[in-house]
Symmetry: C2
């Protein structure tokens, strides 16, 4: 029996994870679910976005299904108490270092992108983003310079072990896809990037079947607009990955359809839709649950090693959408529940 | 009499700056031109991408018209000797801290963008990027960690004076345009960004007529794809500005049409097309000189305070293109010289 921690979070989080849990339950996989608050909801209930009980549930669980965090009510709290800290805290405490963000356009949804349909339609890429290091977790603070000025600082850094392990995730992913890995850095300016590039090149020796290329991050941001279809797997650091993965999702067009996984070395993972908590439509039963449902599929694939069950969910979602089922974000009027039902009906 | 330093650089640099100089000469403004090598060309001639003579010419000049640097031949040199270092060196030595990058779609060129024409056609924005600080110029290096691992590091930092002066450039620019300034940072993670945001908010007190907003960089990268027409002026740091300005240019579609300026506090500036040295078409007379010509217009506007002359050049370029003059990058067959002639004819 596997234990799944459900952390619904804020806004539309509870609605979409509710549908994802229904889909998981329908598969009869002997899963056990336990729920805990996170983000703004947890701050309200327990005074902290990631309370000890929530963290300990996440530690005990085999995998975490996460909704969304973010609540305008708490935007003025100290940074350490804001809802987003839950995500950073879980990544750090559970050593979730490998964020996998697939971006693709689903059949029938080519028209939702701001890119021309023929450009958007070619998108089928995976961004592998490191999420335990970089300027996110380096020494940081505010200090007074010798000239008496306030200064903010954050240390960007990567060591060879951190780079090698995320590079391997990238190479393995490319091997399972179209065999191409593009490493994104800023090695013409950053020493961190130069080490990154050196170590990725060293790691490539173990993957002669994968074609490795390198791209500066500014050029990658251009290519992601000009012809995103050129990418198979991209591997990059925490900060560049934050920017590029969101850009790639928007290029694909349907934010409500895209899942993500963040994995640790032992196979534990946190699975969440890439969309936010969407406070404007929370509680109305209008949110698209597909990204959460597809996150549940990634959970089965990566943490529970149930690829067939994952395939079943993915095929059911694609079929429901191809059949014309559309929530508001996809230009239709179907409710969250109706979309969940449509997926269940096709399992 | 004003002295203009012409630094043609590598690849198509000499061809496009040649046309820009022709246009400047045609205006009879009592300009004096002096030329010096930079980038790979300077490394070949003098063993350094920014030789002392070139730097001293740039210092003496009232403004620098720069072509492009980058030569695949020198990609394996030590970072400090690669062609791109010329740009970083000039920014640092001449204290060029304010990079202005307009992105817009010229009439008749709406179809060149990968974005849908109605999305691309709405682009008319200016990115104000800080270019003297941030993780570009902080302490950096490679060291061995206590655990014996190679580590690369770069310190990201901004102090309040650095932020306030670029913020003012942003507010002034917004005041001269549609009155909206969007400051882009990552204040939910970075202390550097939190200080950035605090100081931008302080500076806003002097610009009650400008509407200030804040956006996280990941969201900005999404919005730049979804609806770039929402932006008027964006102000941001060196690293985020590098990524977003290139992304914005590609959203507009015609890289060959976009100029840039990088200014110091005393009005001196370096003006360059945003495109690179394009070694693949160098020396063939096929490069589009419009970005260089429009950079010359920015030079007149910002360093020489000749707004009428700048307007004349811009109107002439727009007219030439609207009349169907097209170099290869714009889908036509006109030569570099023919495009230059077409602009001259409309001055
Ligand atoms: C909320 C924020 C701290 C987070 C990040 O920057 O990593 C988010 O943008 C993400 O990509 O998951
Ligand atoms: C060449 C490189 C160092 C430079 C930068 O990153 O600033 C370039 O990309 C730019 O934007 O001018």
């Amino acid at each position: 029996m596997a234990l799944i921690a459900i952390l619904p979070g804020d806004g539309i989080g509870p609605e979409v994870t509710g549908e994802a849990q229904r889909v998981l339950e329908a598969l009869d996989l002997d899963l056990h679910f336990e729920q805990a608050p996170v983000g703004g909801a947890a701050y309200r209930a327990a005074g902290h976005p990631l309370p000890p009980e929530t963290l300990s549930l996440a530690r005990r669980a085999d995998a975490v299904l996460f909704g969304a965090v973010g609540d305008p009510e708490f935007d003025r709290l100290d940074r350490g108490l804001r809802p987003e800290q839950a995500i950073l805290g879980l990544r750090r405490e559970l050593k979730l270092f490998a964020n996998l963000r697939p971006a693709r356009v689903f059949p029938g949804l080519e028209d939702l992108s701001a890119l021309r349909p023929e450009v958007a339609g070619a998108i089928d890429l995976l961004i592998v983003r490191e999420t335990n290091g970089d300027v996110y977790f380096g020494e940081k603070g505010t200090r007074v310079t010798p000239a008496g000025l306030r200064q903010g600082y954050d240390l960007m850094a990567y060591d060879e072990v951190e780079v090698a392990r995320i590079a391997r995730v990238g190479f393995e992913a490319a091997r399972g896809r179209r065999g191409r890995l593009c490493s994104v850095d800023k090695a013409n300016v950053l020493e961190t990037s130069q080490l990154w590039r050196d170590v990725v090149i060293e790691a490539a020796a173990d993957y002669p079947d994968v074609t490795l290329s390198h791209m500066y991050v500014d050029n990658a941001a251009m290519q992601m607009v000009r012809s995103p279809g050129q990418f198979d797997v991209i591997v990059t650091g925490n900060l560049f990955g934050d920017i590029l993965s969101d850009q790639a999702s928007m290029c694909a067009g349907s934010i409500g359809m895209l899942p993500s996984a963040t994995l640790s070395a032992d196979g534990k993972g946190l699975y969440e839709p890439i969309h936010g908590s969407a406070p404007d439509i929370a509680g109305q039963g209008r949110a698209n649950p597909c990204a959460a449902i597809l996150s549940a599929a990634m959970l089965l694939r990566h943490s529970l090693r149930q690829p067939e069950a994952a395939d079943r969910i993915e095929v059911a979602v694609i079929a429901a959408v191809a059949n014309g089922m559309r929530t508001a974000d996809l230009g239709g009027e179907a409710s969250t529940r109706a979309m969940g039902d449509a997926v269940l009906a096709r399992l």
